[in-house]
C-alpha cells in the first residue's frame, strides 16, 4: 500500500462565521484518482483552495508529503515554489488561468518558471500541444478561443509541468459532448502510479470512468461517505 502524500486532519474552514468545511479528515495516496462530489456550496472549491495553499484552514492540519502546510510555511519563497512545483491546479474557469499573449507562450510559461533548459521546454511544449490536439492554435491569443479550447490549453499548461499531484476543479464544466469525451479520455490516459489526481465534479460518468475512490461531501460540509 502506498504512503499518503496528502493528509487532512480535522480540517474546518469558516468564512464570516459561516461554516464552509467541517471536520474533514482524509488521506490521499499516490497512484490513485479521487473524485470529490457534493452539492453546490458544500465546500469543494474551498477544499481545493486549501489543497493548493491558496487558503488555510481555520482549524485542523494539512500535511503535504509529511510537512505541515501553513501560511507561514508558504511565505518562504523557496518552500512555496517547491510546494507549487509538485501540485498542479486546473481552475474551473480556464479564462482566469490563461493570461499570456499566445497559446504556445501559455504552455511554456510554467516551464520557464521551473528553470528548464530550452530544448526540454520545446520538447514538452510540442508534446502537450500535440497530445491535446491544439498545435494549430499555437499562435492564437488564449482569450480568443472557445471554452473547450481554453480548457485544453489550461490542461496542457498544467500537465506540461509534470506535477506529482493534479487537482482539477470541474474539468468538464461548460464543455460540449465532444469536449467532455476528449477530456475524459485524456484524464484516463494520465492516470499513473507516480501521480495523484483529485477531481471535483458533478459528472457521474467521469467518476465511474476515472476514480478509484469517491468522496462525497454533504450539505452539512462534512464527508458523508
Amino acid at each position: 500500500m502506498s504512503e499518503s502524500i496528502i493528509s487532512l486532519k480535522n480540517i474546518s474552514y469558516k468564512y464570516d462565521d459561516q461554516i464552509v468545511l467541517d471536520d474533514i479528515s482524509y488521506d490521499f495516496k499516490m497512484g490513485k484518482c479521487y473524485c470529490i462530489m457534493g452539492p453546490n456550496g458544500c465546500g469543494k472549491s474551498t477544499l481545493f483552495r486549501i489543497l493548493n495553499g491558496l487558503s488555510f484552514p481555520t482549524k485542523g492540519e494539512f500535511y503535504f508529503d509529511g510537512k505541515l502546510i501553513t501560511e507561514k510555511y508558504l511565505k518562504d519563497e523557496n518552500e512555496s515554489r517547491d510546494f507549487h512545483k509538485r501540485i498542479g491546479f486546473v481552475f474551473q474557469d480556464s479564462e482566469v488561468q490563461l493570461f499570456t499573449r499566445s497559446v504556445i507562450d501559455e504552455v511554456a510559461f510554467g516551464l520557464y518558471q521551473l528553470g528548464l533548459d530550452q530544448k526540454e521546454i520545446e520538447r514538452r511544449v510540442y508534446y502537450y500541444l500535440d497530445l491535446l490536439e491544439i498545435r494549430h492554435l499555437e499562435n492564437r491569443a488564449p482569450f480568443n478561443l472557445s471554452g473547450g479550447e481554453k480548457k485544453r490549453v489550461a490542461l496542457a499548461s498544467v500537465f506540461s509541468m509534470k506535477p506529482e499531484v493534479l487537482i482539477l476543479d470541474e474539468p468538464l464544466a461548460g464543455l460540449d459532448e465532444d469536449g467532455q469525451e476528449f477530456v475524459l479520455e485524456f484524464l484516463k490516459k494520465q492516470k499513473s502510479e507516480d501521480r495523484l489526481i483529485i477531481i471535483s465534479t458533478h459528472n457521474k460518468e467521469l467518476c465511474d470512468a476515472v476514480s478509484d475512490e469517491i468522496i462525497n461531501i454533504g450539505k452539512n460540509h462534512k464527508i458523508i461517505s
Partner: protein
C-alpha cells in the same frame, strides 16, 4: 451604448487577424523582426527631429508613402486618416505663427508630424499587439512590465465582453424605458469592477500555482534573416542621407 460600441471596436481591433499566419502574405518589410522595426521607426523619427533640412524629411515621407502603397486599402485609409487628423490639430495650434511672421515653422512642424504619425501608424497597422509587446523585451524592458501589458489586453477583452453582455441584459429587461442609461450605467460599471477584482485575484492565484518567479519570455525566437539584414542596411543609408543633407 456609445461607450460599449467604443469598447467593442477596440476589442475587434485587438482580435483582428489573431492567429492567422501573416508571414506568407507579408510584404518584405513586414518580415523584419518587430523589435528591429520598432527601433528603426524610433531611429528615423529621431533623425527627422534632429534634421534641419526639409529634403531629408521629404525623402522619408516619400519612402513612407511608397511603403504605404503596398498595404491593403483598409490600412492605407487608416494611416491617412491618422495623419490628416494629427496635421489638422497641429496646423490649428500653429496657425498664429503664420500671422506673426513665421510661416516656415508651420510648414516644418507639419512635415515632421506627417512623417512621425505616418511611420507609427504604419507599424501599428502591420504588427499585431502581441508582436509589439514581445518586441519590448528586446529593448530590455522588464518582463514584469511586458506581462502587465499583455494581461491588460487580456482583461480589456474579457471585461469588454462582460460589460457588453451586461448591457444587453439590462436593455432586454428595460423594454421601452428611455431613461435607463442614468439608472443602470453605475450598476454596470460597479458589477464590471467587482468582476475585474475577482478575475485579478484568480489570475494572481493561477500564477502562484504555476510557480511564477518574475520570468516571462516569448517561446518563439526570431532568427535573423535576409530581410533583417536589408533593413539594417536601409537604416544605415538613412543615416548617411541624414549626414549628407545636414551639411
Amino acid at each position: 451604448m456609445k461607450l460599449n460600441l467604443t469598447i467593442l471596436k477596440i476589442i475587434s481591433q485587438l482580435l483582428d487577424y489573431d492567429g492567422l499566419d501573416k508571414s506568407l502574405s507579408r510584404v518584405p518589410l513586414q518580415k523584419v523582426v518587430p523589435a528591429l522595426r520598432l527601433f528603426g521607426v524610433c531611429f528615423i523619427i529621431l533623425l527627422c527631429a534632429l534634421s534641419r533640412n526639409a529634403y531629408f524629411t521629404f525623402i522619408i515621407i516619400a519612402i513612407g508613402l511608397l511603403h504605404l502603397s503596398f498595404l491593403p486599402v483598409k490600412d492605407m485609409f487608416s494611416v491617412i486618416r491618422m495623419v490628416f487628423t494629427a496635421d489638422l490639430f497641429s496646423g490649428l495650434i500653429l496657425l498664429p505663427s503664420v500671422f506673426l511672421g513665421n510661416p516656415g515653422t508651420l510648414f516644418t512642424v507639419l512635415m515632421k508630424v506627417t512623417e512621425s504619425v505616418m511611420l507609427l501608424s504604419t507599424i501599428n497597422c502591420e504588427l499585431e499587439w502581441k508582436e509589439i509587446t514581445a518586441a519590448f523585451r528586446a529593448f530590455k524592458v522588464p518582463s514584469i512590465f511586458v506581462l502587465t501589458l499583455d494581461m491588460t489586453v487580456h482583461f480589456l477583452v474579457i471585461l469588454g465582453r462582460f460589460s457588453d453582455r451586461l448591457l444587453e441584459a439590462v436593455s432586454l429587461r428595460l423594454v421601452g424605458k428611455k431613461d435607463w442609461k442614468s439608472q443602470s450605467a453605475g450598476d454596470i460599471l460597479g458589477t464590471t469592477f467587482l468582476k475585474s477584482t475577482r478575475i485579478a485575484t484568480k489570475t494572481s492565484e493561477a500564477m502562484v500555482c504555476r510557480c511564477f518567479s518574475g520570468e516571462y519570455r516569448s517561446f518563439k525566437k526570431h532568427r535573423f534573416n535576409i530581410w533583417d539584414f536589408l533593413y539594417v542596411l536601409f537604416l544605415i543609408l538613412v543615416f548617411v542621407l541624414f549626414l549628407i543633407t545636414r551639411r
